[in-house]
Symmetry: C2
């Protein structure tokens, strides 16, 4: 059982690739780890790649929103990249439109978005 | 069950973050996917982050070596980053010294190595 999701530090960005459907404890652990890493590294941007996720439920949607808000108060911008079309459809059908979360189609575009922020 | 490891495309690099102890089929799938992606994207570098792996057995060691050799003939350089000290100890004790595989301490240093290649 995986107990935390690794966070890669690249330049002034942190990169997280979510590869497994996150159970709730793992999502909360990621939230804690990310805020701690933003603070310790002074990172200005957080990229979260969810291209492997085939399902994002309301809890995970809320965690993504929380991460984005926490990063903002720590002076970092969060971009969620690689969302599958089906996930976008489900999220909106669930009434979750990820308010306040920036998105980009892929990591490369997300990086550009962060660089221009 | 995760059936493949996502490959992120950034600039002229491909980035793979291995987060789970790879069973053999997953490792071979990664090898296939990576060679296919190098060829389709024309990537010049491959970064493989293994900081989450607590164990690398002889099979995985061999797959890493194979990936590196395949990338080389496709004109891309492979750097394995983030190896835990215990993994390095085990590998050498197993008689596997990952000949031909470049390594770096973390993603950032790996990127620099690729940029200078």
């Amino acid at each position: 059982m995986q107990d935390r999701i690794p966070i890669l530090h690249m330049g002034s960005c942190l990169l997280v690739t979510i590869q497994v459907d996150m159970h709730d404890r793992l999502a909360l652990q990621l939230q804690d780890d990310l805020t701690e890493r933003i603070s310790s590294t002074g990172a200005k941007g957080v990229l979260i790649d969810i291209s492997s996720l085939e399902m994002v439920d309301s809890f995970i949607g809320r965690v993504l929103g929380n991460i984005s808000s926490m990063a903002r108060v720590l002076d970092a911008k969060t971009v969620v990249v690689g969302m599958q079309p089906a996930v976008a459809i489900t999220l909106v059908e669930l009434g979750l439109s990820l308010v306040g979360v920036s998105t980009a189609l892929n990591v490369e575009k997300g990086m550009k978005l962060l660089a221009n922020a």
